[in-house]
Symmetry: C2
Subunit: 351 residues, 2 copies
Amino acid sequence: MKELTHDHLDDVARGAAILGTGGGGDPYIGRLLAAAAVREHGPVPLVALEEVPDDAMVLPVAMMGAPTVMVEKLPSAEQVGLAARTLAGYLGKELTHIACAEAGGVNSLIPVVAAAQLGLPLVDADGMGRAFPELQMVLPTIYGVRATPMAYADEKGNRGVLDTVDNHWAERLARSAAIDMGCSSAISTFAMSGAQARESMVPGTLSLCAELGRLARSTKSVAAVVERLGGRTLFTGKVIDVARRTQTGFARGEARLSGMDDDAGRELVLRFQNEHLVAERDGVVLASVPDLICVLHTETSEAVTTELLRFGQRVTVIAAPADPRWHTEAGIELAGPRYFGYDIDPVGVTA
Amino acid sequence: MKELTHDHLDDVARGAAILGTGGGGDPYIGRLLAAAAVREHGPVPLVALEEVPDDAMVLPVAMMGAPTVMVEKLPSAEQVGLAARTLAGYLGKELTHIACAEAGGVNSLIPVVAAAQLGLPLVDADGMGRAFPELQMVLPTIYGVRATPMAYADEKGNRGVLDTVDNHWAERLARSAAIDMGCSSAISTFAMSGAQARESMVPGTLSLCAELGRLARSTKSVAAVVERLGGRTLFTGKVIDVARRTQTGFARGEARLSGMDDDAGRELVLRFQNEHLVAERDGVVLASVPDLICVLHTETSEAVTTELLRFGQRVTVIAAPADPRWHTEAGIELAGPRYFGYDIDPVGVTA
């Protein structure tokens, strides 16, 4: 893919929602926003990560907040551009590329909106290879890239810049602002050079999203998605309970699934904070962060985001391996189960 | 006064604590910080408000947060300078003068610290003629001066810039950051031209603080303070109960006083949010914002800040008239009793 046109957006959004592991936003909304931006400004040039020049100025953009809120209060296109322009102004540098902080139904498409608005190319990469709930949880953190100076903006025109002593402080202050702004804000963060981007980001994410989305749409096969991701199927069942609370700026909760087919008589519990963190079958952890836990409609292989989980849905839960750098000591410290309060070692896809 | 030397600081802090109406910080801490700054950088030139040139760039600085916290976690001198420098950098303009946002034991002295550090003169004025708990509650708001762009900083080196659609949004976002930063932050806000400062600020506040402080120290007479402020004595008694909670970033609460001398047999309740908002004697409101309600030690006429109110203290509660602009419709809307949730018309000093 050399550019993202209107025709790619549906597949990118579908695929991104799978990698979003329940978070990263509703693909329907992501697609709507990106389609409007591409209609207005034309297709967005896509640049492979290895082709980004050393001295490029790469700016990842994203929405921050609770996806439960974002399905009712849509991000505005202006808000996204405002966050990017505010940071560029503060840095006093010219941006050369926009990038994705994470993969997700909204967060893979918001950068398309920003790139279209600012007339900049988009890097075919992201900071995680999946979605995670907190700002500092990107591979660039491991490589010493600073989250700040960062900027945030709301749809009313309020905006701010943060310059913090570490990336955890950036998360804390930006999260409070997002909560004040109605539990969602547009952010531009982890501004980095091309050299830093090549070292620290995950290459090919948008291409992978497009491929996964196409695969899911054309085959409707969960097995095909599992195979493409090198993952495995954890559980097939029916959603029987969802406890969801929008708390401290996140969509937190648990979902209970009653097994069907081979899993009849068993129960799976999914624990999430925007994204699925842990999948537990009858008290045994089958998979956990940093690996991907994705909930797909059994019949269509479309991703179900945590905010849209509903009683009665028939779903298949799959696990897929995270970028290997997430399995290093630094990766586990940043986004392993213990960070989220689960006193277990990470349970991987091959476990 | 043409400059503030070490010898003035004690009186300025004492007087400022009286005008601080219970808030604005502990004068002991304000004096300590200013004394260290003046010792290091020399006396601070003081400029009368009417002498500030039209095209001056005046920057008020202050501490934001709960005074209950500030007595345990002292502001750092670096923090104050950082907030001012961060804003100057964002504005891309050179500051010419530092000013006080409000009168208060800390907040009249923090600008001395900033002025000394930055080598700038201090304007003999403030934004209220007293202290109020929220950021937008300054006379410049009435004159259309914007609180933002503003900057905030903590003692660890975290800092941020805000640019909001109105001054209430500035308060909201800056308050959340202050809470995250440990319930106290240094802020630089309401950057304005000399012309705007002359139109909207209260002249002579630092001179008045010095005079009041000297008066209180030399005479130890509450009556002398009352006379100088054109106020009246509301109640003399003993503190019998203080309910104080640090909540939503403020020191909120009530104090109950049992009457002595002429007030024997009566009870006064003071309700505060950092500052005293309402004084009620046996259920009748004797005084309310926007006028000043000050609690003074009966024996020494020294101010007692809300965070230092203690069972058994013998105090005299006085009221003094606010700057007349606080009694306009816009002033009452901004800082009258109804804004704070009391469904009453303002009760003035002469009521």
